[in-house]
Symmetry: C2
Subunit: 153 residues, 2 copies
């Protein structure tokens, strides 16, 4: 695997989030749903990889934890543009319609999660396992809180 | 959206790729399949966002192109650990069994794509639209070549 330059820096991610209206990024509503589910699947997987370290069943490794948390922080910026109007569902795991009737509350929940994910990456990198466990708990709570409000259970 | 530290740097991604045996990262084979499909979905979407600029139907914007290409380069490291034994399929889009009988060839195709994705990010950042178009073409070819050999069509 070749070395490559530092990617997904702040400035480029801000560009990515701001460059296009949400609907313009997806050719069809189904594409938006598929995309946001993909981002959530990946975040869930990498949160799961951190879960063992947070629970203490796997030895804490700051580098591994930071790599996973960095990726979660990067991915945390991506799904929200894909919550385009008209893509609510009723199945378990699908988006509830109140995302669009309470969009400000939804956006705030997204920002909270993004902030917690950034803090998780910093805590992992610090090498302090207690800070990491605390930040992991806060990030998990941010996931759950948003899902409880805006996802069909 | 708050500023956050530069994420997904080379060292942490190398750690992520190398830290665990592939099977240990997924609780079940189905989880591995879902994860790799999610990574491919996201890469396909961001390649699509670059396609208009590469074809000239959308004005080239180096920052937007670099943001998308950086993300593709980051994601390009992730799906391959999820090609765990016993997860070949027969449906359209699924993994062909020759991934595991020709693993060295598959790994080489993965490396080629990862390298082209890194070059695409550098070309986008250069601001030279011709370099970007050339690198986009090479990256697309790397996608197609691997799919032609190892994905059920």
């Amino acid at each position: 695997m070749k070395l490559k330059p530092c990617v997904a820096a702040t400035s480029t991610l801000l560009v990515l989030a701001a460059a296009l209206p949400a609907a313009a990024q997806f050719s069809r509503p189904e594409s938006a749903v598929k995309y946001r589910k993909a981002a959530m699947t990946m975040m869930g997987n990498h949160m799961g990889r951190l879960g063992g370290m947070a629970k203490g069943s796997v030895a804490f490794d700051a580098n591994v934890a930071a790599a996973n948390a960095d990726l979660i922080a990067t991915l945390s910026k991506l799904p929200y543009a894909a919550f385009v109007e008209g893509t609510a569902g009723t199945d378990k795991g699908s988006a509830k319609a109140n995302i669009w009737t309470e969009r400000a509350k939804f956006d705030e929940a997204a920002r909270l999660f993004q902030n917690e994910a950034s803090r998780l990456a910093a805590a992992a990198r610090s090498g302090n396992v207690d800070q990491f466990k605390s930040a992991f708990g806060n990030t998990s709570k941010a996931c759950d809180s948003c899902h409880d409000s805006f996802q069909n259970q």
